[in-house]
């Protein structure tokens, strides 16, 4: 069985070349120099000593060259995103998140009043991050019984304390079904976005973060919208209505369309929609880029499609429109005029 283990270790691991040619001592010292530079407080004196160290031995110089070469690996990364990505593989992180969720649910069982006493500090700041990936939809039940559903590529922070329940929409789209039980009593429920707040008045509603605007649609009862920078612009939106708002004003409301809530049933609906707009909407559910040829951007069509395979939807487009689908890479798809049919 020793063969098995030896082989298993070889799989998928890059050979380590540098460790063989650089002495342990030089590697240690190089790491210490790098640590010093990371402090952001190096002096001219430090730099002189560092130069001296580099020329003192070829191993030192090689160790430093190695560090510079490896640093280049970090350069092409988007810092914040790379941080989140690399921390997400940490097992502790996954466990933490699970704990927070259980905590949220557990708090509900005890009731808000019961826990406010002894552990007040941590309960006050009870925070959970919920998110979905591209093409993913998920529903959570919060401690008060509220159901929270996230559409594709969405993220919220849940901040509940004994006075209020706040869901901060960071990205994407959320559907809220508020609870009315004892645990909800006396605590207003608010969805907050960059542009302002949407307060539930015993409700089912959806909120979507768009570029510079927040979209709201109410399915049951009503919500109160308050843009962040205008105290006078507060307005109540009733069931069946849909609107959007910026930091300072709320647009006129229209009737909620079937299209805007189709995602709740895992569908996407096109109703005499321009191809370009449809593809932009579809792109939310698919990783990568879908580009639309301007020559066909304004073609209109209708249809109802299940969201579980977005590539299938794209593949079906040539049946209803004079277009063809050209994949440029796994991530990049071009929808363009079909020269044989236009």
């Amino acid at each position: 069985m020793s063969v098995v283990l030896k082989n298993a270790q070889m799989v998928g691991e890059a050979p380590i070349q540098a460790g063989l040619v650089i002495s342990e001592a030089a590697a240690d010292q190089a790491a210490e120099w790098l640590t010093l530079f990371m402090s952001g407080a190096t002096t001219d004196d430090d730099r002189t000593r560092w130069q001296q160290w580099r020329t003192a031995h070829p191993d030192n110089e090689r160790a430093w060259q190695h560090i510079e070469a490896v640093t280049a690996r970090f350069k092409g990364l988007q810092g914040g995103a790379a941080y989140r990505s690399l921390m997400s593989t940490d097992k502790a992180k996954l466990d933490d998140r699970r704990k927070t969720l259980i905590l949220l649910l557990g708090l509900g069982l005890t009731g808000a009043a019961g826990v406010a006493g002894s552990h007040s500090q941590s309960w006050h700041q009870l925070t959970a991050d919920l998110s979905t990936g591209v093409g993913e939809q998920r529903e959570w039940i919060l401690q008060d019984g509220t159901r929270l559903m996230l559409n594709t590529a969405s993220a919220v922070n849940v901040q509940f304390d004994e006075r209020r329940r706040v869901v901060r929409l960071i990205a994407g789209e959320v559907r809220i079904v508020t609870a009315h039980g004892k645990k909800a009593a006396g605590r207003p429920f608010v969805v907050r976005t960059v542009e302002g707040t949407v307060r539930a008045l015993g409700t089912v509603f959806t909120v979507r973060q768009q570029n510079g605007r927040t979209e709201v649609a109410v399915q049951e009862s009503a919500v109160e919208i308050a843009p962040a920078r205008s105290l006078h612009a507060v307005r109540v939106l009733m069931a069946g209505q849909h609107t959007s708002f910026s930091e300072s004003e709320i647009a006129g409301s229209t009737e909620t369309t079937e299209e805007s809530v189709a995602w709740l049933q895992g569908r996407i609906i096109a109703n005499e929609v321009r191809l370009k707009d449809f593809l932009a909407e579809l792109g939310r559910y698919r990783r990568g880029v879908v580009r639309c040829d301007p020559a066909v951007a304004d073609l209109r069509f209708s249809g109802v499609f299940p969201l579980d395979d977005v590539d299938d939807i794209l593949a079906l487009l040539p049946n209803s429109l004079p277009v063809r689908i050209r994949p440029r890479s796994r991530y990049w798809i071009m929808v363009e005029a079909d020269p044989e049919r236009i």
Binding site: V4, A14, F74, G80, R84, L86, M87, S88, V134, Y331
Partner: protein
């Protein structure tokens, strides 16, 4: 890569006798028939590359060990990629890297991830905050609620491990 006569024959026998079983083994763990097929083939490529197929005594545990490794590797890559793309999704359109740049980034993330493997969470976090976000000792200390001298210790340890685990 050159294969001598006997090890070629062994790999062939191995493939003929076990590839259906291995496909089934992988399919039970991976919900995508195309990728399952790819992974099955990668497993045999690994056997060929290792070049010691003739030493194998228990073929199925052997193949399952390699396939399991590849599966874990693939899963970890997916976790990294999903988290990276999810975090990018909140960026404005003009700041979004191109699909090609994203692929390169995921490769780099994978390498860095395995170089940092085994480090305590706080050490890893301190290192990434310094390296990716350019935070100072004091800022990292505040974020992690530890002393600045701990941050220095963390960074020395992570720098040592990460930089010398990665090939230049």
């Amino acid at each position: 890569m050159s294969l001598d006569q006997s090890s070629r024959a062994t790999v062939e026998t191995l493939y003929v006798n076990h590839h259906t079983w291995l496909s089934g083994w992988i399919s039970r763990r991976l919900n995508n028939s195309y990728e399952a097929l790819e992974l099955m083939q990668d497993t045999f490529i690994n056997v060929i590359t290792a070049g010691n197929a003739t030493d194998i005594r228990e073929p199925r545990p052997f193949l399952a060990t390699i396939a399991g490794r590849l599966l874990a590797h693939r899963h970890r890559r997916q976790v990294l990629e999903n988290a990276y793309l999810e975090a990018l999704a909140v960026l404005p359109e003009d700041m979004m890297p191109s699909p090609e740049a994203r692929l390169i980034a995921v490769e780099a993330l994978q390498e860095i991830d395995s170089a940092l493997d085994g480090l305590p969470r706080a050490v890893k976090s301190a290192f990434l905050l310094a390296q990716l976000e350019g935070l100072s000792y004091a800022e990292i200390a505040q974020r992690l609620r530890v002393s600045a001298s701990s941050v220095k210790q963390y960074l020395t340890r992570a720098n040592r491990q990460c930089f010398f685990a990665l090939a230049a």
